[in-house]
């Protein structure tokens, strides 16, 4: 697929200390990963060094099903970056993952940027790869799953 937003935005890279590297590596392989506390099963997002429930430092990276539901959203009409001058409107969604402790992620809602957005709608991730970027990276975008 082509990218939802035009090129020229800052490229996401893992921190020098590598905290979120498994997430970004996962996206490049088309897999959605979050942190989980192996002692309690707590899902945690965004990445952190310590589990907030038992303050243990050992956290697993686990693959989670790339689906969720829209928890909230905004439609952006006013660009605040030169790369987005001709890209408005575009939709940003906050997606909740019920099967992963209701952690939330953020992405764009694919499709018509003027579509009506329904909070609670089921969505699935679409991995948006940027192999020619320097360095290459991938994003997790979302699209509405229509009941079949």
């Amino acid at each position: 697929m082509s990218a939802y937003l035009p090129p020229g935005l800052p490229i996401p890279v893992p921190e020098r200390n590598g905290l979120s590297a498994p997430y970004w590596e996962g996206l490049r392989q088309g897999v959605l990963k979050v942190q989980r506390n192996p002692r309690t099963g707590l899902y945690q997002w965004p990445p952190q060094w310590i589990a907030y429930d038992d303050q243990g430092f050992e956290l697993d990276w686990v693959e989670v099903a790339p689906r969720g539901r829209i928890y909230s959203w905004t439609r952006v009409w006013h660009p605040v970056h030169p790369a987005l001058e001709d890209a408005c409107p575009y939709i940003v969604v906050v997606v909740e993952l019920p099967h992963a402790g209701n952690v939330r992620m953020l992405g764009n809602l694919l499709g018509d940027p003027r579509q009506s957005v329904r909070i609670g709608a089921d969505v699935e991730a679409v991995f948006e790869h940027h192999p020619d970027a320097e360095p290459p990276y991938s994003l997790a975008q979302w699209r509405v799953v229509h009941a079949s």
């Binding site: 800052p10 490229i11 909230s72 952006v76 009409w77 970056h81 990276y137």
Partner: protein, 395 residues
């Protein structure tokens, strides 16, 4: 009164500001603006600026206390304080820190200040230009979510969804600020009234925020002086006593870029703070005569007013009407100087000053017989903060 309380111990004795400018239009360096605001606050109080012995600010203000103290000829520096985190959410927190310093004897005369000349440094409402990003920013910026309006909009959207709040509630908040600015010659939007039709016709910035739901960006500086209650009584102005102050946020409220992950997304984050505030003050929401509530965006004011107990979420559409929000006779006069939207975005310090002026009877949109005056800083960031000021009669 518990010994561990600020109630009645300290007061704001002086307030001052420079002329307020549109961003980029200040004719002087930011540091000079800062000095002039401090001198204005000292003159208002009738204090010698060299008697200042403490400085408190927030949001990483660029004008540091040692430089200010040496420039002003301060005799002795005793308190050098920065409220950490939360940007403009620290506005009341800086007053709280100054009050705590005076109440506990760390310092005697603390100036709370904020100076912003965005034209000389850079604006808040622009996205990052770095070629790469890491950490929480990497989770939002590549998706085009990179300005405060964009970060906070989903919080408000969710709240409006949960409580069936319509755009008219946000509009009433914007109209109230612009209404009050028309009687305030300091206001950048003085002489520029806003109508319902103009609000409705204004462009979206990011839904649910129209242009007029968003604060200005400005140049200028503001300051206020905190001293002991006893000393304030001997100075020029009617003291605005600190009845209470509180700083904070609830469980796992993430800093702005990762705000999407905050469990209680649909919040301005005053829920845990408000009960502490009222308990220290010994008053409740019904006792509050006038409210200054930080408008980064109107939707944050909506949630802040709910969380300070002025109405229930489901009453928002009935409560938030222009008639209810304007001085002198509205049910809850709000942002009576014009606030961040229409007086000046002095990062909310102008709201603290206006809360003091209401208690002194010096507002340009004066509410009659003010005894309890609230000024909230923040919303939707972490930590947020609020101060309750009271008259002599409340002590």
């Amino acid at each position: 009164m518990s010994e561990r309380s600020l109630r009645g111990r300290v007061a704001v004795a002086g307030v001052g500001e420079t002329q307020y400018y549109r961003h980029g239009q200040a004719p002087e360096p930011e540091f000079v603006l800062c000095l002039k605001a401090i001198l204005a606050a000292c003159a208002d109080a009738g204090l010698d600026p060299t008697d200042i012995d403490g400085f408190a600010s927030y949001s990483n203000d660029r004008n540091d206390p040692p430089t200010l103290a040496t420039a002003l000829g301060v005799k002795e520096l005793r308190f050098s304080n920065m409220q950490w985190g939360g940007g403009g959410g620290g506005g009341a927190g800086a007053v709280a820190n100054a009050a705590a310093a005076v109440a506990t004897g760390l310092a005697d005369c603390v100036v709370v200040y904020r100076a912003l000349a965005q034209g000389q440094f850079g604006r808040f409402g622009q996205g990052p230009r770095a070629p790469t990003l890491s950490g929480d920013l990497a989770l939002t910026v590549p998706y085009g979510q990179m300005s405060p309006a964009q970060w906070y909009a989903p919080k408000v959207t969710r709240f409006m969804h949960e409580h069936d709040v319509g755009q008219a509630a946000l509009r009433a908040i914007a109209l109230a600020s612009y209404h009050h600015a028309q009687s305030n010659p300091r206001a950048v939007m003085y002489g520029r009234p806003l109508t319902e039709a103009a609000y409705d016709a204004s462009r979206w910035i990011t839904e649910p925020f129209h242009l007029y739901d968003c604060c200005q960006e400005n140049d200028g500086a503001a300051a206020l002086i905190v001293v002991s209650a006893a000393r304030a009584r001997d100075l020029k102005q009617t003291p605005a006593y600190v009845l209470a102050a509180a700083i904070g946020a609830g469980f796992r409220v993430h800093s702005t870029p990762a705000g999407f992950a905050t469990p209680d997304l649909a919040s301005s984050h005053f829920q845990t703070l408000a009960p502490r505030l009222y308990a220290m003050a010994g008053v409740g929401p019904a006792d509050v005569d006038v409210v200054q509530c930080y408008e980064n965006f109107t939707g944050g004011v909506l949630m802040s007013l709910v969380e300070h107990g002025f109405f229930a979420p489901d009453e928002a559409m009935d409560f938030l009407t222009l008639e209810n929000l304007i001085a002198p006779c509205g049910k809850l006069p709000l942002n009576t100087s014009g606030g961040n939207l229409a007086e000046c975005y002095m990062h909310g310090l102008e709201l603290q000053i206006e809360a003091v002026r209401q208690l002194r009877g010096q507002s340009t949109a004066q509410v009659p017989d003010v005894n309890v005056s609230l000024a909230a800083a923040g919303p939707m960031v972490t930590p947020v903060s609020t101060v309750l000021f009271g008259s002599e009669a409340t002590l």
